[in-house]
């Protein structure tokens, strides 16, 4: 059978979500031709930035964060906005001044405007798995997107079954029993 009439051979299929930024040094897919390190804020070196991003992410989100997803988000957010590293530094500084451990310790001190927008954008990206939610947007996380985790004790993350053949029941769970994630 000629190829014209079959196209189920696994060729040239682009798995955006699985193309991973390795150690801040390699970006595949749509980002491949863009500069890896854009203009960096004066007090943020290129090599420090992924760590700063993860540090801030951990202050904004008190859950276990996947390092690979974080590296990809950091690179993409920095390319989207050259001022992003400066905002990250600014937010870390506010948190340090408050000796913050979790977001509730310092979020009220984040002024409205670019800094607050940056904080919410980072939270949104980790929770939704995308930076923008629109057709054609790159997906950074599906099953690791944090929005699925507060209900993972009951609800299936679609395509990732949590039971087995006829293994589910009609038993619900109380709202107060927040899963650990």
């Amino acid at each position: 059978m000629s190829y014209l009439y079959r196209d189920d051979a696994p060729v040239d299929f682009n798995l955006f979500r699985r193309k991973i930024l390795i150690g801040g040094g390699l970006v595949l897919g749509g980002l491949a031709t863009a500069p890896i390190v854009p203009t960096v804020a004066a007090n943020t070196s290129a090599s420090d930035f992924p760590n700063q991003f993860m540090e801030l992410s951990s202050l904004l989100i008190a859950h276990r964060l996947n390092h690979d997803v974080g590296l990809r988000l950091a690179a993409a957010l920095r390319m989207k906005d050259t001022a992003f590293p400066a905002h990250v530094s600014g937010l870390i500084e506010i948190a340090k001044n408050k000796n913050a451990k979790i977001v509730e310790d310092f979020f009220a001190d984040v002024p409205g405007g670019p800094l607050r927008d940056t904080a919410l954008l980072i939270i949104s990206a980790w929770y939704l798995g995308v930076i923008v939610d629109e057709p054609g947007a790159e997906v950074f996380a599906y099953e690791l997107a944090l929005m699925y985790q507060p209900t993972r004790d009951v609800m299936t993350i679609p395509t990732y079954a949590i039971s087995g053949p006829n293994g589910w029941t009609s038993e619900g769970r109380p709202l107060a029993n927040m899963p650990d994630f």
Partner: protein, 545 residues
Amino acid sequence: MATETNADVVIVGTGIVGCLIAQQMLDSGLSVLMLEAGPRVDRWRIVENFRNLPPGLRLHFDAPYPPKPWAPHMESYSDAAAAEYLQLEGPNARAYRQGYVRYAGGATRHWAGICWRLTPEDMRLKSLYGVARDWDLDYSALEPYYTRAEYAIGVCGPSDPALQWPPIRSKRYPMGPLPFGPGEQRFTDAAARLGLKNVPAAQARNSRIAYDGRPPCCGNNNCIPVCPIAAKYDAATALPKIEAKGGRILANAVAYRVETGQKNAIEAVHYFDSDKHSHRVIGKIFVLACNGIETPKLLLLSKDERNPKGVANSSDQVGRNMMDQPKLVAELILAEPMWTGVGPVQGSSIMQTSQGEFRSKHGGALFRFNNLARGAFGGVAAVRQGLVGKALDAEIRRLSACTAELTIEHELIPDPNNRLTLSNKKDWLGINKPNIYYDVGDYVRRSAKEYSVPLVRKLAAELGATDVQVSTEFTNSDHIMGGTIMGADSAASVVDIDCRAHDHHNLFLPGGGAMTTGGCGNSTLTMAALALKAADAIATQMKSS
């Protein structure tokens, strides 16, 4: 043995109808060639396409199936995109935005797998209630084919007649029912308090055991838009079985003309490949099973000197009587968690509300709890509130667990003014796009106003809803019916009770288009039953010739 240009039976379309017929033809010793307009794509690719959709697109069931330029289908991600292929007009144009995909395997790739049968009363609306048409085929004649269809595709369902719909069966389901999740159980309990029975759906999903080489359902909650493990029947699973029996399947082969010859017999089907080269395929019997829109479109495209209104269209009924089950949705906010996302995306319905003497005045309605996991819904809504920390997590959990969707699907009656014609707009290959005028009619509007919406509000109240928003615009259910309507009278219908075209002895048009009326439930099992009935007729006809 079929070649790429010749077979005993040429089948256009690789959905459930085409595949069921192909398998039976091959078992009868006949050669089979299938033409599929769209691509043939592995399951894992569709699964990865789905997972790589941004959250806002994951409820657009066509989104993991990007159309090829030569085989366009409606893309729902925006109104502008949706208007590209299907040309829709009329008071309820929005309600005919049908979401079929032109891929090998057809629309069963993203169906929910629900397998309701019609009831005897659903097939006798004219004689019982004085509306619409009667089928010229009664339930007892269709029942053996329903049973065969259930065993062919693997349907699970309850063995207790009190839970069956309708409980008129010659044989038990091949598998037992699937369990309910918490939301579906709460809905069932609330309905019972109102005197209504929410019954387990007959579903083409393997329950507890493997069936026909496919594994049991393990609750991936992604039947729509793709079952990742093929526990749900879809026709893509039949394709390798057809090839193993010697059938030939040509993907990316877009049929654009049916050629007639002496005695108005069908001589050939012409198709374009993806390089716009034309090919001619010949056979003894031709089956058009391209779905309820593409089949009438192809017939109208094929008009010639013998058939000036289109092939099979001496009655002028091709493309008329377009039907679906117009849908309304109630969005609920609840004080207590309901929980969705446990088990398959659909698993039950209230069916008794589809029947009654009221059908002389308005249509019946089906009520269903949507069991799609609402984690993404809760997540997106909570993030947009700008919440952080524990407040964000708590709001995601609340919005995901304490919201729900109830769907109403209405019975619509055939109206010749609901009509598919050829648009002047052309697609990439230069083929006319389908144009459809659609008005759900007063039969449906009265049902919504006087019957279904008041009842869904009662159900919502019984569930403890603190807020209920019922949609005011009808939308599509993707159950395309009527465009090649069946009947004994060749002046008023397109096909006979075997789905054979009145005008062409060797042309069969099985599927939703042949359905005389549609009731309230998903049309797929009836389409499958009609396919098997047509297959019997084809085998008999081939033997006698």
